[in-house]
Protein backbone atom coordinates (compact mmCIF):
# COMPACT_ATOMS: atom_id res chain seq x y z
CA UNK A 1 0.00 0.00 0.00
CA UNK A 2 1.21 3.48 -0.74
CA UNK A 3 2.97 5.48 1.92
CA UNK A 4 1.81 8.98 2.86
CA UNK A 5 4.23 11.54 1.53
CA UNK A 6 6.38 13.10 4.20
CA UNK A 7 6.11 16.79 4.90
CA UNK A 8 8.18 18.67 2.37
CA UNK A 9 8.39 15.71 -0.06
CA UNK A 10 6.38 17.89 -2.43
CA UNK A 11 6.75 21.63 -2.08
CA UNK A 12 3.71 23.43 -0.76
CA UNK A 13 2.89 21.22 2.23
CA UNK A 14 1.60 17.81 3.16
CA UNK A 15 -0.31 15.81 0.55
CA UNK A 16 -3.26 14.00 2.20
CA UNK A 17 -3.35 10.33 1.20
CA UNK A 18 -0.88 9.94 -1.66
CA UNK A 19 0.04 11.74 -4.88
CA UNK A 20 -1.63 9.08 -7.04
CA UNK A 21 -5.12 9.62 -5.63
CA UNK A 22 -4.84 13.35 -6.39
CA UNK A 23 -4.10 12.63 -10.06
CA UNK A 24 -7.34 10.63 -10.12
CA UNK A 25 -9.25 13.32 -8.20
CA UNK A 26 -8.08 16.09 -10.55
CA UNK A 27 -9.17 13.95 -13.55
CA UNK A 28 -12.61 13.55 -11.93
CA UNK A 29 -12.87 17.30 -11.27
CA UNK A 30 -11.99 18.10 -14.91
CA UNK A 31 -14.47 15.48 -16.13
CA UNK A 32 -17.30 16.97 -14.08
CA UNK A 33 -16.33 20.51 -15.04
CA UNK A 34 -16.89 19.44 -18.66
CA UNK A 35 -20.19 17.77 -17.76
CA UNK A 36 -21.31 20.91 -15.92
CA UNK A 37 -20.42 22.91 -19.04
CA UNK A 38 -22.83 20.65 -20.95
CA UNK A 39 -25.45 21.51 -18.29
CA UNK A 40 -24.91 25.27 -18.68
CA UNK A 41 -24.98 25.12 -22.49
CA UNK A 42 -28.15 22.98 -22.52
CA UNK A 43 -29.76 25.34 -19.98
CA UNK A 44 -28.90 28.36 -22.14
CA UNK A 45 -30.46 26.74 -25.22
CA UNK A 46 -33.58 25.36 -23.48
CA UNK A 47 -34.32 27.73 -20.56
CA UNK A 48 -37.99 26.69 -20.36
CA UNK A 49 -37.10 23.00 -19.95
CA UNK A 50 -34.70 23.86 -17.10
CA UNK A 51 -37.24 26.19 -15.50
CA UNK A 52 -39.88 23.48 -15.16
CA UNK A 53 -37.65 20.36 -15.10
CA UNK A 54 -37.04 20.19 -11.32
CA UNK A 55 -40.81 20.19 -10.66
CA UNK A 56 -41.08 16.54 -11.76
CA UNK A 57 -38.10 15.29 -9.75
CA UNK A 58 -38.36 13.97 -6.18
CA UNK A 59 -36.44 16.56 -4.14
CA UNK A 60 -36.60 14.22 -1.15
CA UNK A 61 -34.49 11.66 -3.07
CA UNK A 62 -31.80 14.23 -3.86
CA UNK A 63 -31.84 15.54 -0.29
CA UNK A 64 -31.62 12.00 1.13
CA UNK A 65 -28.60 11.23 -1.05
CA UNK A 66 -26.98 14.47 0.19
CA UNK A 67 -27.57 13.52 3.83
CA UNK A 68 -26.22 9.99 3.23
CA UNK A 69 -23.06 11.27 1.54
CA UNK A 70 -22.40 14.02 4.11
CA UNK A 71 -22.97 11.64 7.04
CA UNK A 72 -20.85 8.93 5.44
CA UNK A 73 -18.14 11.55 4.88
CA UNK A 74 -18.38 12.54 8.54
CA UNK A 75 -17.79 8.89 9.49
CA UNK A 76 -14.63 8.87 7.35
CA UNK A 77 -13.41 12.03 9.12
CA UNK A 78 -13.83 10.11 12.39
CA UNK A 79 -12.12 7.03 10.91
CA UNK A 80 -9.03 9.04 9.91
CA UNK A 81 -9.00 10.75 13.33
CA UNK A 82 -9.22 7.33 15.03
CA UNK A 83 -6.33 5.79 13.09
CA UNK A 84 -4.18 8.84 13.85
CA UNK A 85 -4.70 7.92 17.52
CA UNK A 86 -3.97 4.27 16.68
CA UNK A 87 -7.50 3.24 17.72
CA UNK A 88 -7.82 0.51 15.10
CA UNK A 89 -11.09 -1.04 16.26
CA UNK A 90 -12.80 2.38 16.32
CA UNK A 91 -11.34 3.08 12.86
CA UNK A 92 -12.91 -0.09 11.48
CA UNK A 93 -16.29 0.70 13.05
CA UNK A 94 -16.31 4.19 11.51
CA UNK A 95 -15.31 2.87 8.07
CA UNK A 96 -18.06 0.23 8.20
CA UNK A 97 -20.58 2.92 9.16
CA UNK A 98 -19.36 5.09 6.26
CA UNK A 99 -19.68 2.09 3.93
CA UNK A 100 -23.20 1.23 5.12
CA UNK A 101 -24.35 4.83 4.60
CA UNK A 102 -22.57 4.98 1.23
CA UNK A 103 -24.44 1.86 0.10
CA UNK A 104 -27.65 3.75 0.82
CA UNK A 105 -26.88 5.99 -2.19
CA UNK A 106 -27.38 3.35 -4.95
CA UNK A 107 -30.41 2.07 -3.03
CA UNK A 108 -32.06 5.51 -2.97
CA UNK A 109 -31.06 6.05 -6.61
CA UNK A 110 -32.73 2.74 -7.56
CA UNK A 111 -36.02 3.79 -5.94
CA UNK A 112 -35.73 7.31 -7.36
CA UNK A 113 -35.32 6.03 -10.93
CA UNK A 114 -38.20 3.58 -10.43
CA UNK A 115 -40.37 6.48 -9.20
CA UNK A 116 -39.20 8.64 -12.13
CA UNK A 117 -40.09 6.03 -14.72
CA UNK A 118 -43.50 5.46 -13.11
CA UNK A 119 -44.10 9.21 -13.52
CA UNK A 120 -42.89 9.40 -17.12
CA UNK A 121 -39.52 10.93 -16.25
CA UNK A 122 -37.23 8.97 -18.57
CA UNK A 123 -34.49 9.94 -20.99
CA UNK A 124 -37.10 10.76 -23.66
CA UNK A 125 -38.95 13.19 -21.37
CA UNK A 126 -36.85 16.12 -22.55
CA UNK A 127 -33.40 17.71 -22.60
CA UNK A 128 -33.42 18.53 -18.86
CA UNK A 129 -33.96 14.89 -17.93
CA UNK A 130 -31.37 13.68 -20.46
CA UNK A 131 -28.75 15.91 -18.82
CA UNK A 132 -30.02 14.89 -15.35
CA UNK A 133 -29.59 11.16 -16.09
CA UNK A 134 -26.24 11.74 -17.79
CA UNK A 135 -24.77 13.64 -14.85
CA UNK A 136 -26.34 11.79 -11.93
CA UNK A 137 -25.60 8.30 -13.30
CA UNK A 138 -22.04 9.40 -14.04
CA UNK A 139 -21.76 10.51 -10.42
CA UNK A 140 -23.18 7.16 -9.30
CA UNK A 141 -20.37 5.42 -11.21
CA UNK A 142 -17.77 7.50 -9.34
CA UNK A 143 -19.49 6.84 -6.02
CA UNK A 144 -19.32 3.12 -6.85
CA UNK A 145 -15.51 3.38 -7.11
CA UNK A 146 -15.58 5.15 -3.74
CA UNK A 147 -17.69 2.38 -2.20
CA UNK A 148 -15.23 -0.22 -3.49
CA UNK A 149 -12.41 1.88 -2.00
CA UNK A 150 -14.15 2.00 1.38
CA UNK A 151 -14.62 -1.78 1.25
CA UNK A 152 -10.93 -2.21 0.46
CA UNK A 153 -9.72 0.00 3.33
CA UNK A 154 -12.19 -1.72 5.69
CA UNK A 155 -10.54 -5.07 4.88
CA UNK A 156 -7.06 -3.55 5.22
CA UNK A 157 -7.99 -1.98 8.55
CA UNK A 158 -9.45 -5.32 9.69
CA UNK A 159 -6.17 -7.14 9.02
CA UNK A 160 -4.18 -4.44 10.81
CA UNK A 161 -2.50 -2.89 7.78
CA UNK A 162 -2.92 0.69 9.03
CA UNK A 163 -1.47 2.40 12.07
CA UNK A 164 -0.96 5.91 13.40
CA UNK A 165 2.35 5.97 11.54
CA UNK A 166 1.14 4.48 8.22
CA UNK A 167 -2.37 5.11 6.96
CA UNK A 168 -1.85 6.77 3.58
CA UNK A 169 -4.16 4.33 1.79
CA UNK A 170 -6.99 4.97 4.25
CA UNK A 171 -6.57 8.73 3.94
CA UNK A 172 -6.51 8.44 0.13
CA UNK A 173 -9.84 6.57 0.15
CA UNK A 174 -11.25 9.24 2.48
CA UNK A 175 -10.25 12.22 0.31
CA UNK A 176 -11.64 10.50 -2.81
CA UNK A 177 -14.90 9.85 -0.94
CA UNK A 178 -15.09 13.51 0.12
CA UNK A 179 -14.52 14.56 -3.51
CA UNK A 180 -17.69 12.71 -4.51
CA UNK A 181 -19.39 14.81 -1.77
CA UNK A 182 -18.10 18.07 -3.25
CA UNK A 183 -19.36 17.13 -6.72
CA UNK A 184 -22.76 16.02 -5.44
CA UNK A 185 -23.11 19.33 -3.57
CA UNK A 186 -23.10 20.94 -7.04
CA UNK A 187 -25.32 18.36 -8.76
CA UNK A 188 -28.05 18.48 -6.11
CA UNK A 189 -28.99 22.18 -6.52
CA UNK A 190 -28.51 22.04 -10.32
CA UNK A 191 -31.31 19.50 -10.80
CA UNK A 192 -33.52 19.71 -7.71
CA UNK A 193 -33.39 23.39 -6.71
CA UNK A 194 -32.16 25.80 -9.41
CA UNK A 195 -34.58 27.07 -12.04
Amino acid sequence: MSQPLADGAITGGRVPGNAGIWVGIFCVLVEFLLLFTVYFVAKAHYPEAFLTGPDKLATVAGATITVLLLTSGYCMVKAVAAIRDDRRRATLVWILLALALGLGYPLVKFFEIRWNIAHGVDNAAGIFYGVYYYLTLNHLVHVSWGILGLGWVAVRTGIGAYSAAEHGGLEAAAVYWHTTDVIWLVIFPFFYVLR
Binding site: H45, A63, G73, A81, D181, R195
Partner: protein, 94 residues
Protein backbone atom coordinates in the same frame (compact mmCIF):
# COMPACT_ATOMS: atom_id res chain seq x y z
CA UNK B 1 -10.03 18.87 13.60
CA UNK B 2 -11.46 18.18 17.04
CA UNK B 3 -14.39 15.80 17.39
CA UNK B 4 -16.71 18.64 18.48
CA UNK B 5 -15.65 20.67 15.42
CA UNK B 6 -16.35 17.68 13.13
CA UNK B 7 -19.83 17.37 14.57
CA UNK B 8 -20.52 21.10 14.26
CA UNK B 9 -19.52 21.04 10.58
CA UNK B 10 -21.68 17.96 9.94
CA UNK B 11 -24.72 19.61 11.56
CA UNK B 12 -24.10 22.84 9.63
CA UNK B 13 -23.86 20.92 6.34
CA UNK B 14 -27.13 19.12 7.08
CA UNK B 15 -28.83 22.42 7.96
CA UNK B 16 -27.64 24.00 4.69
CA UNK B 17 -28.87 20.90 2.81
CA UNK B 18 -32.31 21.25 4.45
CA UNK B 19 -32.37 24.92 3.45
CA UNK B 20 -31.54 23.98 -0.17
CA UNK B 21 -34.20 21.25 -0.23
CA UNK B 22 -36.82 23.68 1.11
CA UNK B 23 -35.86 26.16 -1.58
CA UNK B 24 -36.34 23.42 -4.17
CA UNK B 25 -39.79 22.58 -2.82
CA UNK B 26 -40.97 26.21 -2.90
CA UNK B 27 -40.44 26.22 -6.67
CA UNK B 28 -38.99 29.72 -6.51
CA UNK B 29 -36.99 31.23 -9.34
CA UNK B 30 -35.11 34.36 -10.33
CA UNK B 31 -32.04 36.17 -9.03
CA UNK B 32 -32.68 35.52 -5.33
CA UNK B 33 -32.72 31.75 -5.93
CA UNK B 34 -29.69 31.87 -8.25
CA UNK B 35 -27.58 33.83 -5.77
CA UNK B 36 -28.67 31.63 -2.85
CA UNK B 37 -27.77 28.46 -4.75
CA UNK B 38 -24.38 29.92 -5.75
CA UNK B 39 -23.71 30.82 -2.12
CA UNK B 40 -24.78 27.37 -0.87
CA UNK B 41 -22.47 25.60 -3.35
CA UNK B 42 -19.51 27.80 -2.36
CA UNK B 43 -20.17 27.50 1.38
CA UNK B 44 -20.86 23.75 1.53
CA UNK B 45 -17.98 22.99 -0.83
CA UNK B 46 -15.59 25.03 1.27
CA UNK B 47 -16.76 23.33 4.48
CA UNK B 48 -16.13 19.85 3.01
CA UNK B 49 -12.74 20.85 1.59
CA UNK B 50 -11.51 22.54 4.77
CA UNK B 51 -13.01 20.31 7.45
CA UNK B 52 -13.73 16.90 5.89
CA UNK B 53 -10.71 16.73 3.58
CA UNK B 54 -8.52 18.64 6.04
CA UNK B 55 -7.07 20.85 3.32
CA UNK B 56 -6.70 24.03 5.37
CA UNK B 57 -3.17 23.10 6.42
CA UNK B 58 -2.38 20.75 3.54
CA UNK B 59 -0.63 21.15 0.18
CA UNK B 60 -1.11 24.67 -1.18
CA UNK B 61 -1.51 23.73 -4.86
CA UNK B 62 -4.10 21.03 -4.21
CA UNK B 63 -5.99 23.34 -1.86
CA UNK B 64 -6.10 26.10 -4.48
CA UNK B 65 -7.42 23.74 -7.17
CA UNK B 66 -10.19 22.54 -4.85
CA UNK B 67 -11.07 26.07 -3.77
CA UNK B 68 -11.17 27.14 -7.43
CA UNK B 69 -13.65 24.34 -8.19
CA UNK B 70 -16.16 25.64 -5.62
CA UNK B 71 -15.66 29.25 -6.72
CA UNK B 72 -15.76 28.78 -10.50
CA UNK B 73 -19.02 26.79 -10.45
CA UNK B 74 -21.02 29.34 -8.40
CA UNK B 75 -19.66 32.08 -10.71
CA UNK B 76 -20.83 30.04 -13.72
CA UNK B 77 -24.26 29.66 -12.08
CA UNK B 78 -24.52 33.45 -11.85
CA UNK B 79 -23.15 34.04 -15.37
CA UNK B 80 -25.52 31.47 -16.89
CA UNK B 81 -28.45 33.26 -15.24
CA UNK B 82 -27.28 36.69 -16.40
CA UNK B 83 -26.09 35.79 -19.89
CA UNK B 84 -28.11 32.71 -20.90
CA UNK B 85 -29.01 34.21 -24.29
CA UNK B 86 -25.37 35.12 -25.00
CA UNK B 87 -24.20 31.61 -24.06
CA UNK B 88 -26.86 30.15 -26.36
CA UNK B 89 -25.74 32.39 -29.22
CA UNK B 90 -22.00 31.64 -28.96
CA UNK B 91 -22.58 27.87 -28.57
CA UNK B 92 -25.11 27.58 -31.42
CA UNK B 93 -24.16 25.19 -34.20
CA UNK B 94 -24.76 26.33 -37.76
Amino acid sequence: MTIAAAERVWVLLLALTAAGALLGETGGRGWALTLTVALLIALKGRLVIDHYMGMRDANRTIRRVLYAFVVVLPVLVILSHAYGAVIARITAIG
